[in-house]
């Protein structure tokens, strides 16, 4: 490039023109003093306690901790979803017998229905007992 510049008048002119423009630009740099009110106004406007109140969440170091806690949270969600899937799968399980006759299916349905209603009966019994106990406790307290 240097060799070319030495021999090419057009390029020499172009380079010198660019250099002159650059000189003019550099000489055109201004020095202006910012008014004092800038700092005053900024300091009056900003909320100086902005980061004091929430130092724990705004500080970069604690931020990292929050970020590292997020995957754990997501992992928990993942486990919950998998558990729910397994539960649904188990509930929808059919017996390994390949073929059912219609009455067999009905019998199975009945059996399943009973299995499902039984826990509800137990739950209502337990609830009633608890309510009775609470009532008796209330009576004692009132006395």
């Amino acid at each position: 490039m240097t060799v070319h510049l030495k021999n090419c008048l057009d390029c020499q002119t172009a380079v010198s023109q660019i250099q002159e423009t650059a000189h003019i630009l550099a000489k055109s740099q201004i020095t202006i003093t910012p008014p004092l009110e800038i700092k005053t106004n900024v300091m009056l406007t900003i909320d100086k306690n902005r980061y004091k109140e929430n130092t724990a969440s705004s500080h970069p170091l604690t931020k990292n901790k929050i970020n590292s806690a997020r995957p754990f949270e997501l992992k928990n969600w993942g486990f919950s979803m998998v558990a729910a899937g397994i539960l649904l799968f188990v509930l929808n399980l059919t017996l390994p017998t390949p073929k059912f006759e219609s009455n067999q299916v009905a019998v199975l349905n009945n059996a399943l229905g009973k299995q499902i209603t039984l826990p509800f009966d137990k739950i209502s019994q337990v609830t009633e007992a608890v309510l009775h106990k609470i009532d008796s406790l209330n009576i004692i307290l009132v006395k």
Partner: protein, 226 residues
């Protein structure tokens, strides 16, 4: 070329001052930007005053180059500082704080330019120009040139005016400009080259009898002004 200019006993610009201050580690009470930011984020909001003091000259000057008037430059500078304070948590320290702050500045100034065109050109606010030597006549001439150059720079498409402002007036390197504008360094260099060419076309547009043609020094005459 830039090195020669900076060696010519010219007043120090913000970047040069920062570099010198940073070079003198352990100076009296001088804290690096990152340390100041850390303290502010830990709740010491008063420390933001140090940041404002450190950067207000550079930001105000940059805003002035875009707005061409001191009132708007002042307002914009204040807005930038407030904006930066409110989004300090967004400064992730992957780049220098100055880069991050100037990114906000450039974006804010460009937004301003898109919304509001400058109403008038203010030249009387200039304290002085870079050359402090020479006769009063030279000084006046230089001010006029500077004013015309600023106008010409401001009239360029924003991608070109921005690189010129950051490179020539704020003394950022192409690499730093690339970080501020989030563009490749090569693109910045290309824009600089084109911007200089376009600017030259504007300044020396003799064909349309532009007033700048007579005002600006012709090649070789510039040395007499120094």
């Amino acid at each position: 070329l830039k090195k020669n200019i900076s060696d010519a006993n010219l007043p120090l610009t913000y970047n040069q001052i920062t570099i010198r201050l940073k070079g003198g580690k352990g100076g009296d009470g001088y804290l690096q930007d990152e340390e100041l930011i850390k303290r502010i984020l830990q709740g010491d909001g008063e420390r933001y005053g140090d940041i404002v003091e450190r950067y207000q000259a550079g930001l105000y000057r940059t805003a002035y180059y875009y707005t061409q008037n001191i009132e708007d430059a002042r307002d914009i500078t204040q807005e930038i500082f407030i904006k930066a304070y409110n989004s300090l948590t967004g400064f992730n320290q992957t780049s220098a704080f100055s880069t991050w702050l100037y990114r906000i500045t450039v974006n804010h100034c460009l937004d301003w330019c898109r919304k509001k065109k400058p109403i008038y050109v203010e030249t009387t606010c200039l304290d002085n120009l870079r050359n402090e030597e020479g006769s009063p006549e030279d000084s006046i001439l230089q001010q006029e040139i500077a004013s015309e150059v600023q106008e010409a720079v401001a009239s360029l498409p924003e991608i070109y005016s921005t690189v010129l402002i950051l490179y020539y007036f704020e003394d950022f390197s192409p690499q730093q400009i690339a970080e501020i504008l989030d563009t490749p360094k090569r693109t910045v260099e290309t824009r600089l080259f084109r911007a200089r060419k376009m600017l030259r076309g504007k300044l020396y547009s003799s064909s349309d009898g532009g007033e700048l043609y007579d005002l600006l020094p012709k090649p070789g005459q510039l040395a007499q002004l120094r």
